[in-house]
């Protein structure tokens, strides 16, 4: 962990990809022409050509522009999901660290129960019960996603609490709450950031899956899973309508997963690799 490694070509590529995808997510909707969202049946299912680089879909909408416009609902919602459940994880881990031992045990038992359940299926149940929509999927995934983060953070705070500098602060009479927020939690920030990036990669796959089976974003939306769901019936005649949004999901998922690997190398965070569950 001496000097930070130089920016390699591979790392630079990943940074550029992530930046481009983020730009599409933030500005895509503003840049996309009106026709991206309105149907023009006369031009349906045009194969890729010079005018429509990725062809047109069942409603005659340009697939490339829809994929770009879809970055916002796909990526930003995934980021929102991971951010919400990471915060829940932080709260649970913090509580577990400061409360009496029996309550810590209880919280961690609850976390273990959450880990033992099939998260995707439970999220599907919640989203379906609330009525299928992108918001339902986001809520459902947020309330089922936190256990891994909570357990990871708790294991780190357990180690940090016995570190000399924390014990020193304790001797000086720093309150447990202040100890936690000012001394212990900042120490796990690196791990949290690395995990956040890797989790966005997994979440975007799950969100796409939920939309694909119909409990997430609904048809007119350009969310990538919903686009694939819409294109499903036409794959044999217009493969590009399904291929393009799927490639977008894959590119985004791989980019964020690699970003997580790079951050892990650069920040030197240890033990953040426990989150490889989709």
């Amino acid at each position: 962990m001496m000097a930070r490694p130089h920016l390699s070509l591979g790392d630079a590529t990943v940074f550029v990809l992530v930046a481009l995808i983020l730009a599409a997510a933030v500005f895509g909707n503003l840049l996309a022409p009106e026709a991206t969202f309105s149907s023009d049946i006369g031009n349906a299912f045009l194969p890729p050509d010079a005018q429509h680089w990725l062809g047109t879909d069942s409603q005659g909408r340009d697939v490339l522009w829809r994929v770009i416009a879809g970055a916002a609902p796909s990526l930003l919602s995934s980021m929102l999901v991971v951010t919400i459940y990471s915060l829940i994880g932080v709260v649970v881990a913090t509580l577990a660290t400061v409360v009496p031992r029996w309550l810590d045990e209880g919280l961690m038992r609850g976390t273990e129960i959450g880990l033992a359940l099939p998260g995707v299926i439970v999220a599907m149940g919640f989203a379906s019960a609330m009525g299928p929509s992108l918001a339902s999927a986001v809520i459902a995934m947020s309330i089922t996603g936190w256990p891994i983060t909570a357990r990871l953070l708790r294991s780190i705070t357990r180690q940090t609490m016995v570190a000399p500098y924390v014990q020193g602060a304790q001797v000086m009479g720093v309150s447990r709450f202040r100890l936690m927020t000012r001394h212990v939690l900042p120490n796990s920030l690196d791990v949290l950031i690395i995990k956040w990036s890797g989790d966005v990669s997994i979440t975007i796959l799950v969100l796409g899956g939920l939309s694909f089976v119909g409990v997430g974003a609904q048809p007119p939306s350009a969310e990538w899973g919903a686009m694939i769901s819409d294109a499903r019936s036409y794959v044999s005649t217009a493969w590009w309508t399904a291929a393009a949004p799927g490639a977008a999901i894959a590119l985004t998922a791989v980019s964020f997963s690699l970003l997580g690997d790079i951050l892990q190398r650069r920040l030197g965070g240890a033990g953040a690799s426990g989150g490889a569950r989709s």
Binding site: G114, L117, G125, A253
Partner: protein, 365 residues
Amino acid sequence: MFDSPAADPALPNRFAPVRAAAPLVRFFARRIGLSVLTLLGLVTLAFAMTKFIPGDEAQVAAGPDAGPDQVEAMRARLGLDAPAIVQYLRFIWRLLHGDLGTSIVTYQPVLRDLERVLPSTLELVAITMVLNLVIAIPVATIAAAQGGRGLDALTRIAAAIAAGLPVFWVALMLQFLLGTLARVLPISGQRGFGVTVPNWTGMRTLDALLSGNPSAFLDASLYLVLPAATLALHFSSQLFRALRASLELAAASDFIAPVKAKGASTARILWRHALPNALPPVITLAGTQIADMLGAAVLVEAVFARQGVGAYLANAVAQKDTFAVIGTVLFVGAMVCVVNLLVDAILLATDPRLRAAELARGGRQ
């Protein structure tokens, strides 16, 4: 410790087998206790789901075509005017009697529907798990032998990409490329026209084998290739990455140096010494993968129109058959609990280090 008769070597130790087994019994008692708690958590979540339903719960449970009488009958059956805690207890009571609700699409008890579709999913998950292990373990070990060059670098990149591919999209693309364009594999369903086998286990490949019908076996297998390959691509890339990392750790550990000094070949070091030590965490991962496989099977079964639990769930979602959805979630969750318990038992039986740790832990308490 010193007053224990077993500590006295002069006395015959009649209780030794019982003593040796006690920590294991305690381990499983604790483990089963945790499973029961998990089931209770699952049931509570499922109950919470029914409370998340916007609008009239009784109307949703009775179905959109139900008349006012039927809706009122459903309201009485679900006891919706009782306090929430009473409703919760009644919910558990009904589950204990095997009542997972009634489907508003098939008009059948959800449990009976699930019993019908379960074998197909078990068949798919079992084949996927076999492929998963058969691909990931040798590829990771062979890649490790190359130590960062050639095949190792290549498989690392391939696995990183494969892990990022959405399974439902891979399913659609494989269906299109190999089924529709190349016409080498059937694109949907689970049996060819006119092919019949007796329905003994419900798993068509197994039924075909048991009834001695090779052509039906081939037929059923062909229908499994695409769904199983789709799932295996995703899960074996995960497993590969975990095992590759685990092998790196094992190969760098102290016990490898003397083996190397004795002149063992790289292949022997990897297969005989590093691999057995690198496997346990990977088996744990494979166990947790089963839960994820059931989740992914929902998507894959829907694409390939297999009559499994996943397709049933996807269908129930599409038909807004909410109580069938919740019943299926409960069912799959319970299955995952049982699988987790089995994986722990397998790990305990195969890894002496873990067994020793558990024995020590049991002795301490």
